[in-house]
Amino acid sequence: MKAALRPEAAAEMIPENAVLLVGGFMGTGSPHRLIEAIRLRGTRGLTVICNDLCTPEKGVGKLVASGQVSRAIVSHIGLNPLAQKKMIAGDMEIELVPQGTLVERIRAAGYGLGGVLTATGLGTPVEDGKQIVEVDGKRFLLERPIHGDFALLACHHADYAGNLGYLLTAHNFNPIMALAATTVIAEAEHIVPVGMIPPDAVKTPGVLVDHLLGTGPC
C-alpha cells in the first residue's frame, strides 16, 4: 500500500542533476502539480526526457523557462520558441529523437533489451555516429536504451496498490515510462481503494509505482 504524498514532498525526493522521464504530449497527460512543485523548489541541472518541451508556460516547458533544465531528450520543440532559441544559442543541450524511436528506446530500458533496431532515421542526421546492424540484408540503426532516475507520470485514476489507469490521449508515454526509471512517481486525479479497478482496466501494474500523488488535502 502506498499513501499519497503532497507534491512538495515528492519534489523534495528529486536531487539536482537528476534524469527525469516525464509523461505527456503537449502537456496532455503530464504531472502538472508535480512539475509546479519542482519549479517552486528550484532544483537545477535537470535532464528532461519527454515527448516534447510543450510551451514555455505549460508542462515541462515551465522548467525550461525557469532555467532548471540543462539537457533534454525530446522529439519536438516546435511550440517552445524559448527552447529553440536556447538550443541554437548553445545554452541548452537538446537531443532530438524521432518520436517512435524515443518511446522504443525508453521501452528497451524498461524491458531489459539491449537497444532498438529501427529503420527510422536512416539517411538523416539521426544516423550520425550510430552503429548500423544488418539483419537479413536490411540495414537498421542501433538506438540505445534510455533510463531515468525518476519517472514522473500522470494518470486519471490509481488505487493505493499503485495500479494506474489513463484517460484517452493522456496515455501517451506514461505506461512505457513506468518501467524505465529507478523511482516512479504517479500523480493521479483520483485514488480509489484497492480492488476498485478491474484487473483488465489496469494499464500500469502497481508493482511498478513507488509513490502516488493525490489531489486531496493529504
Partner: protein, 218 residues
C-alpha cells in the same frame, strides 16, 4: 475562388480510400479531414494516442485529455481506441498505417522530403515525421508550392532529410506531382493554372507528358 490551402486539402482528400487508417500531420494536412465523407469509414490516427479522431468539439464540450498531436481539443468517433505512444508508433512503423499526409519544407527530384529543421534558424524537431515517412504505406506531402516566392520543389534538398524513403505524392495548390524512378512526374494542374506557371514555380526538373488535366475537387 478557393484559397491555396483549401485546394490542397480538397485534392488530398480524394486520395483517401475507404476503410483505411490515415495519419494527418498538424497544420495544413489536418484540414484534409474536413473533406473526407464520413460514410467511407476512414479512421484517422493522431499519433499522440487515438485512432478514430473526430472533429473539434462544440463550444463548452472540450475534454482536456482528448487532444490531437498539436495539443488542440478534439473529439473521437464511435469505435475509437485509446492507444499509448508505443502502440501508436507500432502502427506507424509496422506498416499498419495506410497513408500519412505531411507538410513539407522541401522535396527534391528523388522524392526526398525535408520537413523538420532549418539549421541555425528553426528547429521544431521531427516529432513523428521520420517514423511516418519511414513506415507508412503511402506518404503524401501537402504543402504550398513556394515559400515567399521561392520554389520548395528542388533538384536536391538543401535542408536535412526526414527519411531516405521516396514519398509517393506531392500535392500543392499548383500541381499534383508523383516522384518516380525517372524523376518528378507532373500529373495534374491546379484550378486555372497553366503548365508554364507550374514550371516557373518549380526549381526541380518536371517530367511533363502531353495534356496535363486540371485537378478534380469535390
Amino acid at each position: 475562388m478557393l484559397d491555396a490551402k483549401e485546394i490542397i486539402a480538397r485534392r488530398v482528400a480524394r486520395e483517401i480510400r475507404p476503410g483505411t487508417l490515415v495519419n494527418l500531420g498538424i497544420g495544413l494536412p489536418s484540414f484534409v479531414a474536413n473533406h473526407v465523407p464520413e460514410e467511407i469509414g476512414v479512421f484517422f490516427q493522431a499519433e499522440n494516442g487515438v485512432i478514430g479522431l473526430g472533429a473539434r468539439p462544440p463550444e463548452g464540450m472540450a475534454e482536456p485529455s482528448l487532444t490531437d498531436a498539436g495539443g488542440g481539443f478534439v473529439t473521437a468517433v464511435p469505435g475509437a481506441a485509446s492507444i499509448d505512444s508505443a502502440m501508436s508508433f507500432g502502427l506507424i512503423r509496422g506498416g499498419h498505417l495506410d497513408m500519412t499526409v505531411l507538410g513539407g519544407l522541401q522535396v527534391d527530384e528523388k522524392g526526398h522530403l525535408a520537413n523538420w529543421m532549418v539549421p541555425g534558424k528553426m528547429v521544431p524537431g521531427m516529432g513523428g515525421a521520420m517514423d511516418l515517412v519511414a513506415g507508412a504505406r503511402s506518404v503524401v506531402v501537402a504543402m504550398l508550392h513556394t515559400a515567399k516566392g521561392e520554389p520548395k520543389i528542388l533538384p536536391e534538398c538543401t535542408l536535412p532529410l526526414t527519411a531516405e524513403r521516396r514519398v509517393d505524392l506531392i500535392v500543392t495548390e499548383l500541381a499534383v506531382i508523383r516522384p518516380t524512378d525517372a524523376g518528378l512526374e507532373l500529373l495534374e494542374r491546379g484550378p486555372e493554372v497553366s503548365v508554364e506557371q507550374i514550371l516557373a514555380a518549380t526549381a526541380a526538373r518536371l517530367i511533363v507528358k502531353d495534356d496535363i488535366p486540371e485537378m478534380q475537387l469535390d
